[in-house]
Symmetry: C2
Subunit: 351 residues, 2 copies
Amino acid sequence: MSPRSVRTVAREKPDIRTVASLARVSIATVSRTINGSSAVSDKLSKRVWQAIEQLNYFPNTHARSLVSGRSRIVGIIVEDITNPFFPELIASFEEFAVAQGYEVLVSTGKIENAAQIERIVRRMLERKVEGVAVLTFGSEESVLDQLAMHGIPMVLAEFQVDNPQVRTLAIDYATGIREAVEHLVALGHRKIGYLAGPHTLHSAGTRLHCFQDSTAACGLKIGPDWIVEADHTLNGGVRGMQQLLRLKNRPTAVVCSNDMTAIGVLHAAHQAKLSVPEELSVVGLDDIAFTQYTLPPLTTIGLSRHALGRAAFEALYQQAEPNESSASKPNYIVSTKLVLRESTAPPPAGR
Amino acid sequence: MSPRSVRTVAREKPDIRTVASLARVSIATVSRTINGSSAVSDKLSKRVWQAIEQLNYFPNTHARSLVSGRSRIVGIIVEDITNPFFPELIASFEEFAVAQGYEVLVSTGKIENAAQIERIVRRMLERKVEGVAVLTFGSEESVLDQLAMHGIPMVLAEFQVDNPQVRTLAIDYATGIREAVEHLVALGHRKIGYLAGPHTLHSAGTRLHCFQDSTAACGLKIGPDWIVEADHTLNGGVRGMQQLLRLKNRPTAVVCSNDMTAIGVLHAAHQAKLSVPEELSVVGLDDIAFTQYTLPPLTTIGLSRHALGRAAFEALYQQAEPNESSASKPNYIVSTKLVLRESTAPPPAGR
DNA sequence: GAAACTGCTGGAAACGGTTACGATTGCCGG
DNA sequence: CCGGCAATCGTAACCGTTTCCAGCAGTTTC
């Protein structure tokens, strides 16, 4: 009738049966040639592929995962979509997942109460994910427990857990952070402050330890009020810096647990008429894109979200794919390194 | 044997059959009470819910969508995950989708050649999405065509298309942009530049038109080289501003097609020792979180990603849910408004 | 008091694949 | 020429739901 019906007519979606009959073989053979699950003669295989091509056929994912029990879906849980680090991490994770024919189910949004946890676990379970990457704050241990209870493989960053279903991605914060404090020390700084991440976040803890180790190794004495806990947000950085500014004896440099914090610090310093880097040096961590465009451009410890996303997916993939010939359980290591820009300089003359 | 086996034992996942036999009813009845697809007596209904509760049962999504033909998955396609606007948009979209029991399939990543388009369409088709929100650059028309050809409902921002399967979200850029130029004019500016988005992006086109209409309405004459095309990235903003700076007669204010561009402008101005806002006023568009923390904080035209994400999902939902009693095809409107911060001021004395 | 409805309920047939199992074929050595 | 074995293929069972259809009470209507 209407012309539009022509455009959307799209002849019936082809069956596996359609393919089989066009190729004059059984549906079992079609399935086998598609999945390579068992040998098919060249002659038939050719006919089948030809029919598939001709019909523009592709298998119905739902039927497939219903019978095989494998969904080819992996989940990823992050909390702070506002920090550009995470979108890029998700994008990378997705890239590798899609390349292997997996789809990814993303859960963003803070998770604060039992109902939300329940909801996330439910989503993952309903769609029968084959694994979940948990890259979040630390408040989610109960998510881990529930997922583990259902036997779902997981991977998490920088947080050892005794469950064999859980793999840990080792991130070498130590190197980058050491480079950063050595850099500051070389510039002449002796009083270095630290804006930590939330104590609930495990990776924030290891970052802090790396900082403490590095300063100790350099023979620095770090005043206890030079270390203040922020929350990895812009505003947290502002407040943290304001707290440092109230000190009578304050640091001449401050390293931050992430870039968002550092950008907040820049803002707070400017408000207080403190010029960076002349009167205060600051270094961030993550190397998000914005750090190149702050005033001044931020010296920061680079951490590749691309590498992290890849490692996260691969760790999952290995557990999901039974045929993957590696009984090994490699310790994925993601490295970090200092990238110098313009937010660091020697401390002001009077120390 | 090992203690761990206890933790992951997780008795067999309950069937619909398990529920049925525990409740002493047929599986048809269980299905009906769950879906409310047809009346079930109170007595049986109660027994069924009780059994569900007791077994901690939930339906197998794959089986469900195999037979029903409905996947309860919607897709969303964005290109620039690096612009914080989009992650927040995705998060909002996801929030509303999940609230309605939908799952969302995200496709990020630039789409530049036919193979990538093919890949995206394939992903959406394989998982049988019930609709797709396309919020991207303009280069993807062939994605639209292919999706439309398969009869998949779509929603896109600010881009009219003649296909009835496609709904358009109207975004009221006019108001916010008018407020912005009126604001600048009130401050005394008469020479206003514009850093446009890529011409391939339709919404960038309408933004530009709004700017031109507003300046015309104010009786301003805009020099042709005051309008330069950027690409909505940080670096694009830098380059665009540098181009404006090369002009002998350059604008005293510049409005940008988005915040990323504006932040780039701030950076370029600083490099050129131009102080904002004293020597140059700049206004962005989007109101991403970072604009509060730039130096100076950016005056920008706010556009709620929350509202946009909601509108996008609802437009899709309406097309997907047959029972939704609205034959109406509402024009979703998302509004914009100017938010004043510190990047605008009267032009320097000598005009 | 039978016929015609109404409202619930259960049996069984799909949905579109994968895969266990058996059947068929071809090739080989004896 | 025959038995045996490996390679290949087809038949049918199954995955966990939804839903059509028929059955069966309990009412209502003549």
